[in-house]
């Protein structure tokens, strides 16, 4: 039992050290400057986009109403869930505390801040889930803290949304291997069973 106590204690100490690094955890989304960047995200075609195949044309530039641009060091472009894709999915919830917020988990690109208009052609990653999305860009300062953002949709996140269909992840080779092993399993069992019944009958007839 002693070794278990030691392991548990050291684990707890390790976690407490990790946890104490959270000095920046009270930064809020509502403190960020809204609409500091004008962002557009144009799908390469109409309808539901296919992950891994279709592209998005993303452009961003400094908005005329921006105030804090002196602090901008880097621009982080992210793919975010629209509210309809967050229903009954608490792991995608929008929270005000930035470290807890799970709205924008998918990174698109990170670039140094440039006053002029920037663009990027993004091919949807193959691990993007099925859902409805928009694009948001965070302006980050030298301390890697977000100071402002801009997004391709309105504040209520209802306009300019696009839908993505994920890849299925299925493969023919997987399917075939699966069937083969399943059949083997059932057959092996039957063979053993029948064999033993036969041997037992032989014993009895002796």
């Amino acid at each position: 039992m002693a070794i278990h106590k030691i392991i548990l204690a050291s684990f707890l100490v390790y976690l407490m050290i990790q946890f104490s690094h959270g000095a920046t955890k009270e930064r809020l989304f509502s403190d960020l400057e809204k609409d500091a960047l004008d962002v557009t995200a144009k799908p390469s075609r109409q309808g539901v986009l296919d992950a891994g195949i279709d592209k998005l044309s993303i452009t961003w530039k400094l908005s005329s109403t921006a105030k804090k641009q002196a602090n901008f060091k880097t621009i982080k472009v992210k793919l975010c869930y629209a509210p309809v894709s967050q229903v009954d999915r608490p792991w995608r919830k929008t929270e005000n505390e930035l470290f807890k917020d799970k709205t924008c988990p998918h990174k698109i690109i990170t670039r140094a801040y440039n006053k002029s208009s920037q663009s990027f052609k993004y091919t949807l990653d193959r691990d993007i889930p099925t859902g409805t999305y928009f694009v948001r860009t965070y302006a980050v300062d030298a301390k890697d803290h977000e100071v402002a953002f801009g997004q391709s949709t309105n504040e209520a996140k209802t306009t300019n949304l696009f839908s993505v269909q994920a890849i299925s992840g299925r493969h023919k080779s997987l399917d075939i291997a699966s069937v083969c092993f399943s059949v083997f399993s059932v057959l092996a069992l039957l063979v053993f069973f029948v064999n033993e019944k036969r041997k037992a009958k032989l014993e009895q007839s002796k």
Binding site: L8, V87, D88, W91, R126, D127, D175, L189
Partner: protein, 541 residues
């Protein structure tokens, strides 16, 4: 009468080590075979690696040995069960990937979790009967090899419905729990059954913890070979599938149903009589203690199964850990089983030595209630270290309670042992289904609230243990019966057979069991009056 150390229960004549009570002619017997013509030449006790009782069940437990048939059965049993736990909960640590691939909602995930434990309700019931009728080996092998196809079919899953269906079918393999406990119960004697069942059950349950580490690791390795996440998780399921097939083959080739041989061989040669399923079923269902154990196990093992499904996601989402770290934390819950459940069984055995069956019942109540209280604390903990501490204490309490319960279960019935193991085991899954459905399948409660409420429900549902009463041994608060006949173990176990069956001598196994179970009187076992056996079999003089 001073008990000599070679005896089983202090009963007279038990120094006649080697008498199987099948001899018709002689009262005494000696061990060295060739010199005495009186012994049947196939007296098998001399062949066992471990000392055995009159039913050829081992009296000692040597976990590091693989000797035939007892220790081998133990190891095959618990490893099969371990493998099934890995398969059943293999999806849980990968849910963050699966939910993205299949576009699942919280409701879908919760329902699939319920489904994963519901299948076993029926399969555990069926398994009890299968073991009684076909033997533990085939029970285990059927479970492993017929559910392996379900594990492989994760490669076909495309939406919430098929995901739920596959998890439901994989869940059937949890029936190995029953076959494993049945197998150890026929291989090991009553005095150590708490510890043996606790080890077998606990080490098997560890699979629920190991899978939380194993599956993310396998998933990572497969991704390194270039597969996308949405394919990698499907391929990862092949590992539990392979393990199941391998274990199934090992069980069939290396295992043995009973100490004396395989069931079909023994039945055909007339040494073991075939029992009628309807009778076995009736005596299991008629006994109210079965149903109390059903509920109790629902809130010890049931809670444990639920936690296996939700805890990884809970730590991932609430404390923002990575998939890997959440898996480690979740794994420690399941891994505590390694010592916690055997500890519960051992505590039950020690309590029985001192206080008899009453000690076993109190041990069970205390462990389960304490575990449930820590579950309430876990839900309320808002910092990670406190949550982990609460979770570890909760895991020890609940898992030890599972072990303690199976220190009681083998004594509820002899005739329907398999079916009662099955019903109790089914109760575990039923409890898990109920708790997942009530607390973890909708957005009504947050997962944290769900955990605390589940703890409260567990405390309440542990109270029925006070109502388990054995006429020969008493209960938590009542003394044993003073009635001349009812206070004997033979009366309780003999009561499962009709007079007609008794006249045919079919109940002899139960009588032997009754004599061996005198240890449940606690310290009073030494002073117990030994009744003359009703059939006049000359095992004791």
């Amino acid at each position: 009468m001073a008990p000599n150390h070679s005896n089983e229960n202090g009963s007279i004549g038990s120094s006649l080590h080697g008498v199987t009570a099948r001899e018709q002619i002689f009262c005494f017997s000696v061990e060295d075979g060739p010199s005495s013509q009186a012994i049947r030449s196939d007296d098998p006790t001399a062949k066992f690696a471990l000392p055995v009782d009159s039913e050829h069940r081992a009296k000692v437990f040597k976990p590091l040995s693989f000797a035939k048939p007892h220790m081998r059965a133990f190891h095959l049993g618990w490893i099969s069960f371990f493998t099934c736990f890995i398969s059943t909960f293999a999806a849980a640590p990968l849910v963050p990937v699966i939910r993205d691939n299949l576009d699942l909602t919280k409701t879908d995930i919760g329902n699939a979790g319920v489904a994963s434990v519901s299948g076993a309700i029926f399969s555990r019931l069926a398994m009890g009967a299968v073991c009684d009728l076909l033997g533990a080996r085939y029970g285990t092998a059927f479970s492993l090899m017929l559910s392996a196809p379900a594990v492989f079919s994760m490669s076909f899953v495309a939406d919430a419905g098929s995901y739920l269906a596959v998890r439901f079918m994989i869940g059937f393999c949890l029936a190995t729990f029953v076959s494993c406990q049945y197998w150890t119960s026929v291989m090991f004697t009553g005095k150590i059954i708490g510890l043996v069942n606790g080890c077998a059950g606990g080490w098997g349950d560890m699979g629920g913890g190991v899978t939380q580490l194993l599956m993310p690791m396998v998933f990572h390795v497969i991704k390194l070979t270039g597969a996308t996440p949405f394919s990698a998780w499907r391929f990862a399921f092949f590992i539990p599938g392979f393990l199941q097939i391998i274990m199934g083959i090992l069980v069939l080739t290396l295992g043995q149903d009973l100490p004396d041989g395989n069931l079909s061989t023994l039945q055909k040669s007339g040494q073991v009589s075939k029992d009628k399923f309807s009778k076995v079923f009736w005596f299991a269902v008629k006994n109210y203690r079965t149903w109390i154990l059903f509920v109790l196990y629902g809130f010890s093992m049931g809670v444990e199964l639920t936690i296996n499904n939700v805890i990884s996601g809970y730590f991932y989402d609430r404390f923002n850990l990575t998939l890997h770290t959440a898996g480690i934390v979740a794994a420690s819950f399941g891994m505590a089983n390694f010592f916690a459940r055997p500890f519960g069984g051992y505590a039950s055995d020690v309590a029985a030595r001192l206080f008899g069956m009453r000690g076993r019942l109190w041990t069970l109540w205390i462990l389960q209630t304490v575990g449930a209280l820590f579950c309430i604390w876990l839900g309320r903990a808002s910092s990670l270290p406190i949550a982990i501490l609460a979770m570890m204490l909760f895991s020890v309490g609940t898992q030890a309670a599972c072990g303690a319960l199976f220190g009681v279960a083998p004594f509820v019935s002899r005739r329907s042992l398999g079916l009662i193991s099955g019903l109790t085991g089914a109760g575990g899954n039923f409890g898990s289904g109920v708790t997942q459905l009530l607390f973890f399948s909708s957005s009504r409660f947050s997962t944290a609230e769900g955990l605390s409420l589940m703890g409260v429900m567990a405390v309440v549902c542990t109270i029925p243990v006070a109502f388990i009463h054995f006429p020969q041994w008493g209960s938590m608060f009542l003394r044993p019966s003073q009635h001349e006949e009812r206070s004997k173990e033979e009366h309780y176990y003999g009561g499962e057979w009709t007079e007609e069956e008794k006249s045919l001598g079919l109940h002899e196994g139960s009588i032997k069991f009754a004599e061996n179970s005198r240890s449940e009187r606690g310290r009073k076992a030494v002073l117990a009056d030994i009744p003359t056996p009703e059939t006049g079999s000359p095992a004791h003089v």
